[in-house]
């Protein structure tokens, strides 16, 4: 618990929990829609944004956000035209990483900066990051409060949602844009490589532990916030990377939930 006596520890905890809430709420939809590869794909596609920002000396956050939102909209559009979200990501995944690597190489940037984007550094976040995370998390919570049933209905039975008069493109694209923004915010904490875990793993654990989708939406943020808290303590006590520790705790929770589920049958 000593880590929380320091300002960086408190910032990491607040930023991490905010990010955990946003990504796990949207992650529940990701798991229900069976598009788990999408989060990882958006993060990797955002690497082009990192490359472009470093090459043209622009704000990485702004460029990465723009690229992530554009990628989400394009992939969403392809999905509406019959190309599943994960297939679209699979096509663009490696190409975007390759392009990002080339741009960063040409920009002749110090490797440590590149490593920060790839693996994140939750202990280095500042108040500005926390404020940004708070805004994004508030938007995600509002979306879930107002549109949870809409997006669940679209996922369960899109035809009937149309019969009900739900504005499917609005609900769907808003979800994708919020997902892209949440992923970019979480990339500062966990990096491109690990961020998809924040989206998928807590929601997957929640889907095992709860019978209904309503239960998933309640449990996933709790699991994710718990993982951030214990991940940071684990990181401090064993002097290991914080982002990786958080993901490790998430993985352990999933394994535990899975075993309990199997043994209780």
């Amino acid at each position: 618990m000593e880590i929380f006596l320091y300002e960086f520890g408190i910032l990491a905890l607040i930023g991490g929990v905010l990010s955990a809430i946003a990504t796990s709420l949207l992650g529940s939809v990701v798991v229900l829609r069976k598009m788990s590869f999408f989060g990882s794909g958006i993060a990797h596609l955002s690497f082009i944004g990192v490359g472009l920002a470093l090459f043209f000396k622009l704000s990485p956050t702004f460029v990465t956000l723009t690229v992530a939102i554009a990628a989400a909209i394009i992939l969403g559009f392809l999905a509406r035209k019959g190309v599943h979200e994960d297939i679209g990501v699979g096509i663009l995944f490696s190409t975007s990483m390759a392009l990002g690597i080339i741009l960063i190489y040409l920009a002749k940037i110090d490797n440590s900066r590149v490593m920060a984007y790839l693996f994140g550094d939750i202990l280095a976040i500042n108040w500005q990051d926390v404020v940004f995370s708070s805004i994004v998390t508030a938007l995600v919570i509002l979306y879930i409060i107002f549109f949870k049933d809409h997006i669940v209905y679209i996922t369960f039975d899109e035809d009937f949602s149309k019969v009900l008069g739900i504005n499917i493109p609005f609900v769907y694209y808003t979800f994708l844009i919020l997902l892209a923004v949440s992923i970019v915010v979480s990339m500062n904490l966990l990096g491109i490589v690990l961020v998809s875990a924040m989206v998928v793993v807590p929601a997957a654990s929640a889907s095992l532990a709860s019978r209904t989708y309503q239960g998933m939406f309640k449990l996933a943020p709790l699991i994710s916030a718990f993982s951030v808290f214990f991940g940071l303590i684990l990181s401090w006590n064993f002097d290991i990377p914080a982002g990786a520790s958080i993901v490790l705790v998430q993985g352990i929770v999933f394994l535990f939930t899975f075993l309990v589920k199997i043994l209780s049958r």
Partner: protein
């Protein structure tokens, strides 16, 4: 103004890109009757149903429901819709929540007690009252289709349309299913069922629409159709096995 017809379709044409799914379809259906839509695969039956209930918006021609333009009617009321069984996969949603979907437009922000009461009543009407807390994928095909009917009727629609609702069900389940639908029809609801089962058509229907891109025939009874009719419609010999439960 009282309207004799619950559904009037005039010169309806639907295209998917260059493919014409329906061409110049015209018919009128009287309210309170039980109609069946038959025709070969790819003949446009599902397209017709999806256009009437509002899933397909891109069409030429006119659809009037109880004398009102389709969109105007659908803004005020739902047309009950039961999709094909195959559209549903494993999903963590309870039966009661599936039925509540049908009341989505009646709620302001969230479902309240009166919505739950209505949903339970709808489940009771389809003899599924004990299943409200079960997950939808835990049910058998026949039970699932009953839940879909509950969802379709919970908002008390004037018309109930079903798209091949009994595909994959055994004969007994099909019979029970159509009995239930007949009861709903007898309570005053107009019912339109898309089906391949020509035998059941004769048993329950007040009228038959045969669709193969165009409206081929609009008959009152399967007996009215010429012997070679189904062979021509489906492209091979089909014998209509008539059941013994004709009203």
């Amino acid at each position: 103004m009282k309207c004799e017809y619950c559904l009037e379709v005039k010169n309806l044409t639907v295209r998917y890109g260059d493919i014409v799914a329906l061409k110049d379809v015209n018919f009128s259906l009287k309210k309170g009757k039980f109609y069946t839509v038959v025709g070969p695969n790819g003949g446009g039956k599902s397209t017709l149903v999806k256009t009437i209930v509002g899933i397909i918006d891109d069409y030429d021609g006119q659809i009037q429901i109880f004398g009102k333009d389709r969109d105007e009617y659908l803004r005020e009321k739902l047309v009950g819709y039961v999709p094909q069984i195959s559209s549903f996969t494993k999903f963590p949603i309870r039966v009661i929540d599936v039925v509540l979907m049908g009341l989505f437009r009646e709620r302001k922000f969230k479902f309240k007690k009166q919505h739950y009461k209505k949903a339970l009543k709808a489940l009771e009407r389809v003899n599924m009252e004990g299943f409200s807390k079960r997950l939808i994928h835990e049910l058998s095909g026949g039970q699932r289709q009953r839940v879909m009917i509950a969802r379709a009727i919970v908002s008390e629609p004037e018309i109930l349309i079903m798209d091949e609702p009994t595909v994959g069900l055994d004969t007994e389940s099909q019979r029970n299913f159509f009995r239930l639908v007949r009861e709903l029809n007898e309570s005053g609801m107009t019912v339109i069922v898309v089906t391949h089962d020509v035998g059941f058509v004769s048993e329950y229907s007040d009228g038959i629409l045969c669709i193969n891109k165009r409206l081929v025939v609009h008959a009152k009874d399967v007996d009215e159709l010429p012997k070679e009719f189904f062979a021509k419609l489906y492209g091979y010999n089909v014998k209509a096995v008539l059941h013994n439960h004709k009203r």
